[in-house]
């Protein structure tokens, strides 16, 4: 069921982020993810940052051991890929606000491109810790999105969190939908801001994944399995959840607070 592919191109997007392009035929929609096996290392869920045609791509942020090693991969490296899995963004809304925090933009970029190609007006609130970590800014501009930037340290655009930027955009103009991906505390804030204007929000959520087939229960989030019922959820499925932005499950299945102690 896995296809072993050879990396055709690598692009270092930011000091901590790399895009791997590889030939992978199965068709995919923006929002879907694949399980990527880095042989000898882990197999990890990764959103497709390029969904069109055969040359798919994932954009990986160095987080832990495996993803740090991914940063060093070069063309010719072999990966095992399965998927795509999960649901995807509905690209029909006409005026979309995209709110991306850090590597969350990986999954939002192809969605923004897809919507624009269908005639939508897309505004992107792009956030990062600092200017050098802004992901896909040029790509989004080239796709004719209107890109607004916020950085924690003010090295580019607005100083502060992207949530503030998003809130002010929502105050200024009407949107038909908000798409967001990033840390759940960030997404919760985006949901709150959008709900004031009654704009529907779709959040791409991450949970620990093993099977990606709706079987092992690793990715359980309330009554949902993120791998098959998500990763894209309408805000109303999340905001009243006890877990959203508060708890996730570690690989043992223990419900642990975000940022809480690592399991034994």
């Amino acid at each position: 069921m896995r296809t072993v592919v050879s990396v055709s191109d690598t692009v270092v997007e930011t000091p901590s982020t790399i895009t791997l392009r590889f030939p992978y035929a199965p068709s995919a929609e923006p929002g879907q993810f694949v399980m990527v096996w880095f042989p000898g290392d882990d197999e990890l869920p990764m959103s497709l940052s390029y969904t069109d045609g055969v040359s798919k791509g994932v954009t990986v942020k160095a987080m832990g051991d495996t993803s740090r090693r991914v940063l060093a991969l070069a063309p010719g490296a072999t990966l095992g890929v399965r998927g795509p899995y999960g649901n995807h963004f509905d690209l029909t809304p006409r005026r979309v606000l995209v709110v991306g925090g850090g590597s969350g933009t990986a999954v939002l970029a192809p969605a923004a491109e897809g919507a624009i190609a269908q005639g939508a007006q897309v505004t992107v609130a792009l956030g990062a810790t600092r200017a050098s970590e802004l992901l896909f800014k040029d790509r989004l501009i080239q796709a004719r999105a209107r890109v607004k930037v916020a950085t924690d340290d003010g090295s580019e655009g607005m100083e502060g969190y992207v949530t503030g930027l998003a809130a002010s955009l929502l105050d200024q103009e009407p949107f038909d939908a908000v798409w967001t991906c990033g840390p759940e505390v960030m997404m919760r804030k985006v949901c709150a801001a959008a709900s004031e204007h009654e704009v529907p929000v779709f959040c791409s959520v991450e949970r620990h994944m093993k099977c990606a087939l709706g079987m092992c229960d690793a990715c359980a989030l309330g009554p949902y399995h993120v791998c098959i019922d998500g990763p894209v959820f309408p805000a109303e499925r999340l905001i009243n959840s006890e877990d959203f932005a508060r708890f996730h499950r570690d690989p043992s299945g223990r419900r642990v607070p975000f940022g809480g102690p690592a399991p034994a």
Partner: protein
């Protein structure tokens, strides 16, 4: 409509299809979801003494529509945390069977007491995981070990104890007989078959753990043989598990001797809606064959019409 409810080991199941251990079984909300989808009962993930992360990914390999290989490595939140999940499932009204795994009879007994206290209605002992060092088949392959473990548990709990048997054995009936002698109230058969996949391009096993367990339609004939052999040797009820995906699969198990059934891998192929479909299909099959109650068909193939 044929009656699908069964009495099993002193408990009453509203339907014969149980959620198999290890599928949708780590979180209480998932257990509740399987119950709401029509499961006659839900079996928890096998729970151990301490939280366990399981093996690294890749943990699964899928073979088209006929099988699946997994080596999850018995990840579980541990017996201290897990009762919270059971509580959620119970509040949803589910009949919950607690599954436990351990390395020896002392730990099995201790875990069983703990899980009994959490409000489950029966306890299934995982004596059969084929790929976890020190657990599962490693403690469940010898009849004497099975008998000793079951007895130790039965002496400490009041709930019915179900022994889940391995197919990786020359004589599944001998293991079942040993469990019955130890005091088991029922037998489940089978767990997965020890198996492996190799990626020839990468020159390595596909699963991070190497060896895993085969489940799904491909193991149905093997599960049927185990249930058949066990049914001929024990008086306690047998729960059939392995590759059940249709009402006909279920009825094969029933006629081979099963009084209830567990469903795992098929959920991956068909979604949780499979429980409603299985209830429907089995009921129709029984009607067509003139059975008023599922229980009347149990073991029918052992004395075929002449």
């Amino acid at each position: 409509m044929a009656e699908l409810g069964v009495r099993l080991a002193g408990i009453t199941l509203r339907g014969p299809f149980l959620l198999a251990s290890g599928i949708w079984g780590e979180s209480g909300e998932s257990l509740a979801g399987a119950w709401r989808a029509g499961a006659g009962g839900v079996i928890t993930k096998s729970i151990g003494a301490a939280p366990r992360l399981g093996y690294p990914n890749p943990t699964i390999e899928v073979y088209d529509q006929w099988g699946m290989l997994n080596a999850m490595g018995l990840p579980n939140p541990g017996i201290d945390e897990y009762p919270k999940e059971i509580e959620i499932a119970r509040r949803a009204g589910a009949t919950v069977i607690g599954s436990v795994f351990a390395g020896d009879e002392t730990e099995f007994a201790r875990l069983s007491e703990r899980i009994e206290a959490s409000g489950v209605q029966a306890i299934e002992l995982n004596l059969s995981c084929p790929h976890a060092e020190g657990f599962g088949t490693e403690v469940g392959s010898e009849p004497a070990d099975v008998e000793r473990i079951v007895r130790a548990v039965v002496q400490r709990v009041h709930l019915p104890v179900i022994a889940k048997i391995t197919p990786n054995t020359p004589d599944p009936a001998a293991l079942a007989v040993a469990a019955e002698r130890g005091g088991a109230a029922a037998i489940s058969a089978i767990n997965t078959l020890r198996a492996l996949a190799v990626d020839v391009t990468l020159r390595r096993p596909v699963l991070a753990h190497g060896l895993g367990g085969l489940s799904g339609p491909a193991i149905k004939p093997i599960g049927l043989a185990c249930v058949w052999q066990i049914y001929e040797k024990v008086r306690i009820p047998v729960i059939g598990v392995g590759g059940i995906r249709t009402g006909t699969d279920a009825l094969e198990y029933v006629m081979a001797g099963a009084r209830a059934l567990e469903v795992g891998t098929a959920i991956t192929f068909d979604g949780i809606g499979i429980f409603a479909r299985l209830n429907q299909e089995l009921s129709e099959r029984l009607d067509a064959l003139g059975y008023a109650r599922l229980e009347d068909a149990v073991g029918a193939a052992h004395s075929p019409p002449s």
